[in-house]
């Protein structure tokens, strides 16, 4: 199991009405080939911005810091032209909303082959053959006819499969899937997730699966990183982070999930609202909503500390962390 992408202390400032604000505030994680890496956290915690930073697709006026090493090369300090060549070929991305992420006026063929032809220099015929292969791979029925179609002729789930096919076209090594099932019906979601899982195993592809729904990750992800207000609060193997979550925030997320064996058990949502980047509390950003809050939480940002079971977490109140920190 080799590390494909190593992100260290990633920081992003975005231009807002109130000037530049830190949206991603020192995030670190590793992604391995052939594995599903889950990035979780409530909406607004900075997951999408983290992903866009990796692809170099941040909105205008963004500033970045830290490093993201892929194959010994730092994505964050690459030149623009070189960076563009990594897009699609090394790191590809599937976006949340399949309704708006495909160009409404271009044929599926055009959208599926234009980067094959540009990036890999394929002829039209080669690209078309590859396109049929890709559509078959993501289980689009009747791929030849689908190529001639336009996005509006497909359902949401089908469009999401087409998006995945587009992302896979140039055989990237990392596929970033940002909430790929959030906009879909529950019945369709499982199919898309199974598809991602299968691709990951068959192609030795690394998948970065971004979601606000921890439930999506439990069956699928090998490792999980949980973000809150632009920082990592807990990360590690899925079994540890989700099965025996320690950080109060992760536990809150897990408790707010419907339970498969006890469907009638009341869900416990986390109290309070997530902190926006303009009103981020000092210290641990989660402390105003935390049941275990103690005075030190409000003063210093807790560092991520590795505990012996392979997880890292940032909570000064946790007895294990406290004993290690001492």
């Amino acid at each position: 199991m080799t590390t494909l992408l190593s992100v260290r202390d990633l920081r992003v400032w975005l231009d807002t009405a109130r000037g530049p604000l830190p949206i991603v505030d020192g995030v670190s994680f590793d992604i391995s080939a052939g594995q599903v890496f889950g990035l979780a956290g409530e909406s607004g915690s900075g997951k999408t911005i983290t992903a866009l930073a990796l692809l170099g697709l941040l909105p205008a006026g963004a500033r970045t810091g830290g490093s993201a090493i892929l194959d010994g090369r730092d994505l964050m300090t690459m030149r623009t032209a070189q960076r563009r060549r990594t897009r699609g070929r090394e790191v590809a991305m599937v976006f949340q909303d399949p309704m708006s992420s495909l160009h409404p006026m271009l044929t599926i063929e055009r959208q599926l082959t234009e980067h094959l032809r540009y990036q890999l220099g394929m002829s039209r015929k080669e690209a078309d053959e590859r396109a049929v292969e890709l559509l078959t791979e993501v289980r689009i029925p009747n791929p030849e006819a689908a190529l001639r179609g336009h996005p509006h002729q497909f359902s949401g789930g089908m469009r999401q499969r087409i998006q995945i096919a587009i992302a896979l076209a140039c055989e990237p090594r990392l596929l970033v899937a940002d909430e790929p099932t959030t906009a879909l019906d529950v019945t369709v979601q499982a199919g898309i997730l199974r598809l991602l899982h299968r691709l990951c195993q068959e192609k030795d592809l690394a998948v970065m699966l971004i979601t606000h729904d921890l439930g999506v990750l439990s069956a699928l992800a090998d490792t999980v990183t949980v973000m809150y207000a632009g920082r990592v609060v807990e990360s590690g193997p899925t079994a540890q982070v989700m099965g025996r979550s320690r950080h109060p925030y992760t536990r809150g997320l897990v408790d707010s999930l419907p339970h498969p064996e006890a469907a009638d058990r009341a869900l416990v949502p986390i109290a309070g609202e997530p902190a926006g980047p303009e009103s981020r509390p000092a210290g641990c950003a989660f402390h105003p909503r935390c049941r275990y809050m103690e005075p030190p939480c409000a003063t210093a940002v807790p560092p991520l500390i590795r505990i012996d079971d392979g997880r890292e977490m940032a909570c000064p109140v946790d007895p294990l962390v406290a004993s290690l920190a001492r």
């Binding site: 699609g88 976006f95 992420s101 160009h103 409404p104 234009e114 980067h115 540009y118 992302a167 140039c170």
Partner: protein, 316 residues
Amino acid sequence: MAFVLTHLVPGDPAVANLGDRASADPVAVRIYREHFGLDKPLPVQYFVYLGNLLHGDLGESEQSQRPVSTDLAEYIPATAELAITSIVLACLLGITLGVIAALNRNRLSDQIIRVVSLGGMSTPQFWLALVALYIFFYKLSWVPGSGRLDAIVLPPPHLTGLFTIDSLAAGQFDVFANSIQHLILPACVLAAFNMGLFTRFTRSAVLEVLENDYVRTARAKGLPELTVVFRHILRAASPPILTVVGLAFGNVMTGTVLVENIFSWPGIGQYSYRSATALDLPAIVGVMLFVAIVYILVNMVVDILYGIIDPRVQLA
């Protein structure tokens, strides 16, 4: 419609066309009226006119003493050449500037383009025409000031009636160069307003498209920026641009009256001006008919293009 409107105009065409002779010689007036059928009641005139129209007969111009259709056939190609050139110029410049402005929103280039486009839209056409003539013809002598060709240059063999195209088809490159020289100044003057209009529309249409997720998808594929702009952004922004380009044919038709007169361009604009001042009713109706047909054709083409650009639009 055109027929009724023109006949509501107060004024006696016979008097207008015969001038002083009308008051001096009542017989001439009567002969004139009989010749053009003006002595019959208006509804009769109308049905006679409609009947002739069905045979492609637009009547006879009181000024040129030729069938109106012959006049139109002579003048339409000149106007078509001028109008199409000006629209093409306005599209090329306006759309390019609009895209640049949108992509550099609120930066210096956007501000400069804003000034240029507002300038193009707010400068009176006659003033622009006179200044352009003064500078490029009178001061610099870069271009000839009037007509479609120098007097000593023979028109190319008739094919479309557009001298630029006909001369190229005949391989007469000197004639082509000469016709371009004559064409460029009036076409630019006629294009100024639309250039500004297209710039403003393109800018706002592109800004709207930029917000869309599929633009990010295109960038995520690693496509070069020019491909993203032209294939993805401009394609999506084109329906509103197309609408305004279609509407622009209207103001170009109006603009030709002034521009053709200033630049002595022998086209429909000049013809309609002459006919209007002479109350040459058959000619005026013919011109109006021509303008109406242009409107209908442009609308049809725009509708068809909508369907081609955006597959979600179903042709009704």
